[in-house]
Amino acid sequence: MHRGKGMKFVGDSRVKASNRMPNKPKDYSEYPGKTEAFWPDFLLKEWMVGSVFLIGYLILTVAHPSPLERPADPTDTGYIPLPDWYFLFLYQLLKYSFASGDYNVIGAIVMPGLAVAALLLMPWLDKGPERRPSKRPIPTAIMLLVVASMFYLTWESVVNHDWEASKAQGQITPKDLGLVPDIEIDENSEGYQIFQSQQTCVACHGGDLTGVGSNPMLLGNELTAEEVEEVIRNGRGAMPGGQFSGTDEELKTLAEFIASLKEE
């Protein structure tokens, strides 16, 4: 070898030292004592760091099973979309008036585009030889500002999102799993006719009574006719009351019909 005070380092494929190349570590032999070989000393330390990291990673995996929502249904227009968490700051950016609507292209393309371009060209935007952050205040300040805004936008996005509604709209239903109970519906019954005539019933529970989206399936319900009547009048959970537009008599018939949708 050409370097190293006559010491022989077999494994040093670095470009030869010359005055043309600054910011290059000194020759290995210039570090007394504390430099160590990659194999096996340093690799062992890397493995220890890796093991600690892996334990945390596995605990996270076991403690929080990865989420899965119900199968994609392009016809469900009411769904509130949400990107993966690391895109939330961009998602939030698109909500501000200077970056949405007519100016959408600013938030969606221009600003992220400029950021990536600036990052790519960083070595030429900050050409000085100084490496310490304190010796190059402008790049340091800009980067800190960018990171702070990313954190702020992500935070804003998280606190402004309705997580409960988000969770409810994605719930897997028995229908998604092919678990629709085998119940025969008497389509000539008066109750069925009343159900089909009520727009609000059909909109959420579906013409086939298996529920639309995350709204519950009526087949195989566990309510009595009185309870069904009570739910239709006063609502329950996400369902509002007072939606039924027929007479009390019809309501009773409908309730009895729904209560009859049980497995043998």
Partner: protein, 224 residues
């Protein structure tokens, strides 16, 4: 026996310098957390690679069950998650790894930025690093669609609309990714699958190789 085998190969290919280069290179004190605890910031790049390896392995196992088809994609993921032995763990590692790799890569980027390590002569490696960052975000975006559940579909819809808003070529990019100008469906899923499993990993491997070769050529940047 092993020695003989090694000698037999070495005699023909002279492999000693190749692996001695990896094994023997010395690690300077300022990046070694055993000497300065604050040097743990130099671990972020290695941890990013560690998670990338886990992503590749878990991804390979996921494709044993996953079916890239609108009828069966969700069912296959549900089956994998709930019926297959350790399926929940494999999918969980891939899911959480996707987030962790972004976190670690972000920290690695900040470390390189704040230590000024991108400066001459390491400009090219910085550029390759930024490209790796973009490829990783692309992997995250395309992988998000694959379970074909509600959040996947609608997040992709928004993402494709953003791609479509690029001036002049937006519509072309959108059609290239989605397979259709208006529909996000069977074509989109198979394209995202191909991009996620073949195109982007191929780009990633090439970039990682270049990234590592350049580190070995230039050595790690010196102390501040």
């Amino acid at each position: 026996m092993l020695n003989k085998l090694y000698d037999w190969v070495d005699e023909r290919l002279d492999i000693t310098p190749i692996w001695r280069d990896i094994a023997d290179h010395e690690v300077p004190e300022h990046v070694n957390p055993a000497h300065h605890f604050s040097a743990f910031v130099y671990c972020f790049g290695g941890l990013t690679f560690f998670i990338t390896v886990i992503q590749i392995l878990s991804g390979m196992f996921l494709t044993m069950y996953y079916v890239p088809d609108v009828e069966n994609a969700w069912k296959s993921v549900y089956y994998l998650q709930n019926e297959v032995a350790f399926g929940e763990i494999v999918r969980g590692m891939h899911h959480w790894g996707a987030s962790l790799v972004i976190v670690m890569m972000f920290l690695h980027t900040l470390r390189v930025f704040f230590t000024g390590s991108y400066k001459k002569p390491r400009e090219l490696n910085w550029i390759v690093g930024v490209l790796i960052f973009c490829v990783m975000l692309g992997l995250g975006f395309t992988g998000y669609l694959l379970p074909w559940d509600m959040k996947a579909l609608f997040a992709t819809k928004v993402g494709l609309e953003i791609a479509g808003s690029v001036p002049f070529i937006g519509e072309l990019i959108k059609i290239l990714l989605a397979g259709d100008a208006t529909i996000i469906g069977a074509q989109t899923l198979t394209r995202f699958f191909a991009i996620h499993v073949f195109f982007l990993p191929a780009a990633l491997f090439a970039l990682l190789a270049v990234h590592f070769i350049m580190i070995r050529r230039q050595g790690i940047s010196g102390p501040l």
